[in-house]
């Protein structure tokens, strides 16, 4: 298999899937989450609070802590499974493209689509809060730091949920469990157990960047180690998912 076949195949799948992810019902979900974020952060922004501390806390708890895994789950947990169930996967599975590379062709648009969605949500939340409290250099710094964190989170969570969409027949159930129970509950229990969540390492990385709010004082693992864990998890889930997809019988 030559490089041209691989690159053309990945490009085709990225183009096709990105369009499907960004301009489907998932776009409506993104819009609804944006509205909810605007409502919650807009209300908080209307109060007499310490703008930078409260703004950072809102972006930490509402966007990074809650919506990040939920949106990745909504976009990713059924991406490949839906195509297997609808049998439109046939055109990919009967192409002269190794399925491991086809898997990358699903991952790239997924990570991009989740990133776009999360950037929109982060921007909407930021503006609704800081337009009332005043936007200065420190506020913009907070915005850029959290935007970077949600982009990193998009790539990590996308690798995880895409793998589950190949592994499970009903990946949404696992996705709901993981996003709400594991990341949402286990990830916030004090003690070492929270290190078993992706969120812990995202906040660890964030604690080294953000100077305001609870995240700045987060009892973190070292930033270098956290970055390595996030990178390692992403690569592991990508390789694991690609292997599963390659070996999967499409009956």
């Amino acid at each position: 298999m030559d490089l041209k076949t691989i690159m053309t195949g990945i490009y085709a799948l990225t183009h096709h899937s990105l369009k499907g992810l960004l301009f489907s019902r998932k776009a409506v979900i993104t819009a609804l989450v944006m509205l909810l974020t605007v409502a919650v952060m807009g209300y908080a922004g209307a109060q007499d609070v310490d703008a930078l501390t409260e703004g950072a806390n809102m972006m930490d708890v509402l966007i990074l802590f809650f919506f990040m895994p939920v949106m990745a789950m909504i976009f990713g947990s059924s991406l490949i499974r839906d195509e297997i169930d609808s049998k439109s996967i046939t055109h990919v599975a009967t192409a002269p493209l190794d399925r491991a590379f086809a898997y990358i062709g699903y991952y790239v648009p997924l990570a991009l689509a989740v990133s776009v969605s999360m950037i929109l949500i982060t921007t909407a939340g930021f503006l609704s809060f800081f337009l009332q409290q005043g936007i200065d250099a420190a506020a913009i710094e907070i915005y850029l730091e959290f935007t970077t964190l949600v982009i990193i989170g998009s790539f990590v969570y996308s690798s995880l949920f895409l793998a589950t969409s190949v592994l499970f027949n009903k990946p949404v159930f696992f996705g709901l469990f993981y996003a709400f129970i594991w990341e949402g509950f286990i990830g916030s229990i004090p003690g070492a157990i929270q290190k078993a969540s992706v969120k812990h390492y995202l906040r660890s990385v964030g604690s080294g960047w953000v100077d305001y709010g609870d995240i700045s004082g987060f009892d973190a693992s070292s930033i270098g180690a956290s970055t390595a864990v996030l990178l390692g998890l992403t690569v592991f889930f990508l390789v694991f998912g690609a292997y599963l997809f390659r070996e999967k019988e499409l009956s």
Binding site: K4, G9, L97, E249, L250
Partner: protein
């Protein structure tokens, strides 16, 4: 135009092939050789036709036996897909895409791009008579249009082997005739090896004389369709005759050597005749009707469905 396959050896060879899904058997000790030309794979629903195609395409792996396509093992061999075009029997077109976007996606997946891909899209769309609908969403296509577009997708990379799984299923008689003509053209003018499945024997007879009959995961007969027809005709057929004066026709039929049995149906306006030599029965029947002085309003065979034919063949 594909590389010529005329005079070449078998394209697909399946030997002792077995595939099962849990306790359900898809194929069992399946043997078949498919040569260049058009080959019809005929069998009732659940006979294993689609399982066989999935094995040919490497979408599933066999539990036992071997299968080779152009001398290569399909499972884990994506390179082989550049030689195969597949038109599935199920809905596989992305609903939110236009025909052109669909063909572009499939073309890119086969490493085609730029002006060459655009030109090829126009060519195949013209070939399947779908050029006028290229820029319409596939979700709004009729059944026949969807079948044509799926065939276009299978043809985009100009494969040597074309697999059409139940392409005529659910189409009206006009579309059916057009698809049959198209399939013949793809072989005759474009030199594609075509393997086409159906659960209706007479449809395949209009396409090719080279058939393989499948039943319960096995090949029960393969070769020229006239030989298979002869094989079928050796076995008793059940024919229902309805009209007036059936008792005298029944009496006349019982005197014929080919009649195995005659039974009256309900109110004696109809009889079910079991005959051992259908050809003799059909040629002699007009004379018998005249002798008996009866009138026939309808006549039909109970064995026109494939299930009955396959039961004969398996039971022989």
């Amino acid at each position: 135009m594909t590389a010529s396959t005329k005079g070449a050896g078998p394209v697909i060879v399946a030997e002792s092939l077995g595939k099962w899904y849990g306790e359900v058997i898809g194929l069992n000790n399946f043997n078949l050789e498919i040569k260049p030309g058009i080959t019809g794979v005929v069998g009732p629903n659940g006979s294993g036709k689609s399982t066989f195609f999935k094995l040919v395409l490497g979408l599933i792996k066999p539990n036992t036996g071997t299968i080779s396509v152009f001398g290569q093992t399909p499972w884990g061999n994506p390179g082989l897909h550049s030689k195969i075009g597949f038109c599935p029997d199920y809905e596989s077109l992305p609903r939110d895409s236009t025909g052109r976007e669909f063909l572009s996606l499939v073309g890119h997946l086969h490493a085609m791009e730029g002006a060459a891909l655009s030109k090829r899209i126009e060519e195949v769309a013209t070939l399947v008579e779908m050029r006028h609908a290229l820029d319409r969403k596939t979700g709004g296509y009729s059944k026949g249009m969807k079948q044509r577009m799926k065939i276009a997708g299978a043809l985009i990379h100009d494969p040597q082997l074309l697999i059409l799984d139940e392409p005529l299923s659910g189409t009206d008689p006009i579309v059916r005739k057009e698809l049959i003509d198209l399939t013949k053209r793809l072989n005759k003018e474009h030199d594609h090896v075509v393997v086409v499945s159906s659960h209706v024997l007479f449809e395949i007879e209009r396409l090719t004389h080279d058939v393989a009959l499948m039943y319960k995961g096995r090949t029960v007969a393969s070769g020229d369709i006239s030989d298979i027809r002869a094989l079928i005709d050796k076995h008793p057929h059940n024919i229902v005759i309805e009209g007036d004066g059936m008792p005298s026709l029944a009496k006349a039929l019982l005197e014929e050597e080919y009649t195995v049995s005659v039974a009256f149906n309900g109110d004696r306006d109809g009889i079910t005749v079991q005959v051992s030599r259908p050809d003799d029965f059909f040629s002699g029947l007009p004379g018998l009707i005249g002798e008996a002085g009866c009138s026939v309003t309808s006549m039909y065979s109970l064995d026109d469905n494939l299930e009955a034919i396959f039961k004969y063949l398996v039971g022989r």
